[in-house]
């Protein structure tokens, strides 16, 4: 240990002529070869390996093996089928939503989904500049009566909706929703894309995935079979059928088209900042990578004179006035 702490001491003491290859590393090679330190020993290698393996084993004992599929009491069917990845137009780091699809999707939501599902977090004004003009949004809002008040007499009154109002809910409260749907609560759809594993792919697969239950599967009363829904039995029945709505832009309203459009709409509802976020991400990446490159250059520039220094020994000159 003394040798590693004071290499110069050792090399001074043993200042002897030796081959150049050794002389280059006089201080270090001498100390390591004469007394190999603890960190070079086989004991160190063995113990560190043991420590690493042991901590991994301990972690896995506590939390399970994250790299391997987890053992589960559920069968794959009970977890729901894994949704296929669909080629949505907004998938990809630089892609915005297809706003024509959002507009059609809103129509599907309004005409089909809103009979049971609320959309609490979206106000009429949110549609402006996304899928509808101001006048369209105002007109749609005014079709709905909202309770406001109290007025001067202290009573609540009904008034037509304004842009600042939020989307009306189909049921006044959870109990009413359950009562109207055989005990099942239709979830609020504002954040449903974020709230479900598989996100947009799952919503699309669920809407288009209804089929007859396979042999041997027994469904409870009033349940429908959908392989993408965890457990397979879902209270919601298939709602999308070809030609159910009539799009104002002439797009054929097939089941898959409507499912795609309403999925895009719900994805927008969950992530209204989506387009802006991706654009800002692009800008931030450009700026930050440029900053990184320039700071590397400047670092090298600032260090260059230190790194290229030469230290030269200039022996003393003989005296001008001749020999002493």
């Amino acid at each position: 240990m003394l040798s590693s702490a004071f290499p110069r001491l050792i090399s001074r003491a043993g200042a002897r002529v030796q081959p150049f290859s050794k002389a280059r590393f006089t201080s270090s090679s001498q100390s390591t070869t004469s007394t190999p330190g603890f960190f070079g020993s086989k004991t160190a290698i063995a113990s560190s390996t043991l420590l690493a393996t042991g901590s991994l084993v301990w972690y896995n004992h506590l939390y399970g093996i994250n790299l391997l599929p987890e053992a589960s009491a559920n069968s794959a069917g009970e977890n729901g089928m894994h949704p296929t990845r669909q080629p949505f137009e907004h998938y990809g780091p630089f892609e915005t939503f297809n706003h024509a699809s959002i507009r059609r999707g809103y129509q599907v939501y309004r005409e089909v989904c809103s009979a049971c599902h609320s959309l609490d977090r979206i106000a009429w004004r949110n549609l402006v500049g996304v899928s509808h003009t101001v006048d369209e949004a105002k007109a749609m809002a005014e079709e709905v009566e909202y309770t406001d008040g109290p007025n001067d007499e202290g009573e609540m009154f009904q008034r037509p909706g304004k842009l600042a109002d939020y989307m009306p809910a189909p049921y006044p409260n959870e109990e009413a929703a359950r009562a109207g749907n055989g005990g099942g609560l239709p979830p609020d759809l504002s954040l449903i894309v974020k709230a479900r594993h598989g996100a947009a792919d799952y919503i699309y697969s669920l809407l288009t995935g209804y089929c007859d239950p396979p042999a041997g599967v027994k469904l409870a009363e009033g349940m429908n079979y959908n392989p993408y829904f965890p457990g397979g039995g879902i209270a919601m029945a298939r709602v999308l059928f070809d030609g159910l709505v009539e799009y104002d832009d002439g797009t054929p309203a097939t089941t898959s088209q409507m499912a795609k459009d309403v999925t895009v709409f719900l994805n927008w509802a969950a992530e209204p900042e989506h387009d802006q976020r991706k654009k800002m991400g692009l800008q931030a990446l450009i700026i930050l990578s440029t900053l990184t490159a320039i700071s590397l250059y400047v670092k090298r520039f600032k260090w260059s004179y230190l790194k290229t220094r030469k230290i030269v020994y200039d022996p003393p000159k003989p005296a001008r006035h001749g020999p002493l």
Binding site: T133, V134, K279
Partner: protein, 67 residues
């Protein structure tokens, strides 16, 4: 060629006040141009998908108080 970079050096870099002022003015100019440039590419890349591409279809002539 030698004159160009020397001119740039003498105009913008030699005096520290000019250097700092150039940096700050450049920051404003850069922000505007960078924003315009990335937006142009963004709109080109996503043409036909954004609301600004669809808006004309749904807006009646005469109404102009849009957001």
């Amino acid at each position: 060629m030698a004159g160009v970079h020397d001119l740039i050096y003498r105009t913008f870099f030699k005096r520290n006040s000019a250097f700092v002022a150039t940096c700050f003015a450049g920051a404003f100019a850069f922000q505007i141009t960078f924003d315009l440039g990335t937006s142009a590419w963004w709109d080109y890349h996503n043409r036909g998908k954004q609301w600004k591409d669809l808006r004309a279809k749904y807006i009646q002539a005469g109404d102009s108080d849009e957001e």
